[in-house]
């Protein structure tokens, strides 16, 4: 059995570590490219949102490299993702592709579910499993901590690319180690190296919080490198959604002391007092949370036709009006041209700077 999974930002680091750790053979799909998109779009229903299409492209590319099983998360509530596993399985079957899709369904998404679905795992010891989960967790958390810092510092780096090259070195090192003390060491070292990067002087950065649907927030291929563009416009990007915060909140019951979107449902209450599916409520709650922290603006991103985010989009003005900050909503679909995105981001940042100048 050779297992694969869809890409979503740094998810491949997490998934690869976990699956290898429990003794499975893993095929990491090639990075998302225009080919992935074309394959996905060609075989998906036109009305589906972008995540389904790109996931499917990932499976098909992984299949070419020998994968015969794919992991996918399911879901409950109004977000269509709950239905996607089933659709993707049907599409693969229609294409005559012998690939088994294992769908992990919340609310009972639990490592044990994997057990019931993958026979091989019955031979794996609990000890090995626990070790794999621990290792995976540390890698995931480290990567997120490094990225969180990069999202701030990249806005101010004196030489373009300094932070990115550190980040990719760190990622390669994390990928190739299996020791938790070593992971901690890499994290410490690279956080320090980032702190040492020369920054431009006399710089008043703009702070923007990025909220929205998790897949489009985390996957740079679909959000057209939104965060890097913002950074290069001199914007510090704050992001409540990280893979590790999602795992903490959804799989570990919020046990660990990671802020993430834990408080979001409570903060969203005066504006949106209902679970609207996906991350709609988190979008509103996080906007409130970061507005209270004093960010200069909110950017919401979602795949076109995403219902939960459409609801959040229409509620967002009541939050931003109350806190007196602007919001920009971006819907992404098949386009790969970045010029239109850049125009909107530039205008948004310009507007914030004019407002700052007036108020100072």
């Amino acid at each position: 059995m050779k297992v694969t999974f869809p890409h979503m930002g740094n998810l491949s680091l997490t998934a690869e570590t976990l699956l290898r750790g429990i003794g499975l053979e893993v095929v990491v799909p090639p990075p998302c490219t225009k080919k992935t998109l074309s394959l996905g779009v060609q075989h998906s229903p036109e009305f589906a949102c972008l995540p389904l299409k790109i996931n499917l492209g990932n499976y098909l590319e992984a299949y070419e490299q020998g994968a015969d099983t794919a992991l996918m998360v399911g879901g409950i509530g109004p977000c269509r993702i709950g239905y996607y596993g089933a659709i993707q399985q049907e599409i693969l079957r229609d294409l005559g592709i012998k690939m088994n899709l294992i769908v992990l369904e919340p609310p009972d998404a639990h490592p044990r579910e994997l057990w019931d679905k993958i026979k091989h795992l019955k031979q794996v010891s609990w000890r090995q499993v626990v070790a794999a989960i621990k290792l995976t967790w540390h890698k995931t958390r480290s990567m997120d901590l490094l990225e969180e810092k990069a999202l701030i510092l990249r806005a101010k780096e004196a030489k373009k690319g300094s932070i990115d090259s550190l980040l990719s070195q760190a990622r390669t090192r994390l990928q190739s180690t299996d020791s938790i003390p070593r992971i901690k060491e890499i994290t410490r070292d690279y956080l320090a190296l980032m702190d040492d990067v020369a920054l431009s002087e006399e710089f008043r950065p703009v702070k923007i919080v990025l909220v929205g649907e998790i897949y489009t927030v985390l996957e740079p291929f679909v959000n057209l490198n939104l965060e890097k563009h913002l950074n290069s416009l001199g914007v510090e990007v704050l992001r409540p959604l990280f893979l590790s915060s999602w795992i903490n909140e959804h799989l570990l019951g919020g046990l660990l002391n990671i802020e993430g979107t834990k408080r979001a449902p409570g903060l969203a209450k005066p504006y949106l007092n209902s679970f609207v599916g996906g991350h709609g409520r988190e979008t509103i709650g996080s906007a409130v949370q970061y507005a209270q922290k004093g960010v200069d603006g909110v950017i919401q991103i979602a795949p076109l036709t995403c219902m939960p985010e459409i609801v959040a989009h229409s509620v967002l003005p009541s939050v931003t009006e109350e806190y007196g900050i602007p919001a920009l909503t971006l819907y992404v679909d098949e386009q790969t041209g970045e010029a239109g995105l850049l125009t909107r981001l530039e205008a948004f940042v310009d507007m914030i700077r004019y407002r700052q100048r007036r108020s100072s």
Partner: protein, 326 residues
Amino acid sequence: MKETMFLGIDVGSVSTNLVLIDQAGNLIDKTYLRTKGQPIATVQTGLAQLNEKWHNTVEIAGAGTTGSARHLVSILVGADIVKNEITAHAIAASELVPGVQTVLEIGGQDSKLIILRDGIVTDFAMNTVCAAGTGSFLDQQAGRLGLPIEEFGNLALKAQNPVRIAGRCTVFAESDMIHKQQMGHGLEEIIAGLCQALVRNFLSNLGKGKEILGPIVFQGGVAANAGIRDAFTKALGTEVIVPEHYDVMGAIGMAVLAREEWLKGKNTSFKGFDCAHYAFRQSGFECQDCPNSCEVIQIKQDQAIIARWGDRCGKWSNLKAVGTGA
């Protein structure tokens, strides 16, 4: 003694506009050309036209570019400031209509709604994945009906009872128009219905949750269309101002910003009207150094590479531009 002036260039999907303003901000000259997918050649044509008229009497002390080809063109001409269209349009509107609080702008592929308060942009919206209701669609419909685009809007004003046309999506709008034609509705009624549908779409798509207050300025190429102007006035229930130079507002905004740079004491890097005659060549390649496969674009002036962009890592764009003029 040559007179000091400022050049603004707006290279959009459909039109390329160049303007000259003097130190007091008066518009001295403007050109409006169709881009026809060739931004470099079109800008050079525009520069050549201005050169012919002004090279003996005018000294350019600052230049600014905007529009979707703003970065490309800024390198060709040596611009002092490069800005997105939203900022450029807002600057021009508040320069020409002091106190403006709302700008409606409809161009070839884009439509924008800009909210200003006390001369500063406080909110904006721009169409994202759909170009319903922009100039290109009106062009196409005028063509289909065999009408010159200039007359299209005036016909709408003659309508007694505009028919209802679906404005959400241009594909559906077109089939709705055809169905109504086949049922026997008059041309004027249908065109007026289309204008109302586009305005409805604009306001519900971009105006969501925004406070539209007067003075309202309507600009961009589509502001020439009397039918759309009328539909906006009716839908908003208030007067809509169309400035005299509504079709070159982006370029005016950039000239104003270039003047600001000059007032701050910046020496211009404008290459002179002569760049109308330089040989620029653009070429591209796909970088194979990592799986991102970025499409890198490079611009050559004569034999020297003057700029590269399109790479995510910055490897190519960070390379020091080789040769002269950069």
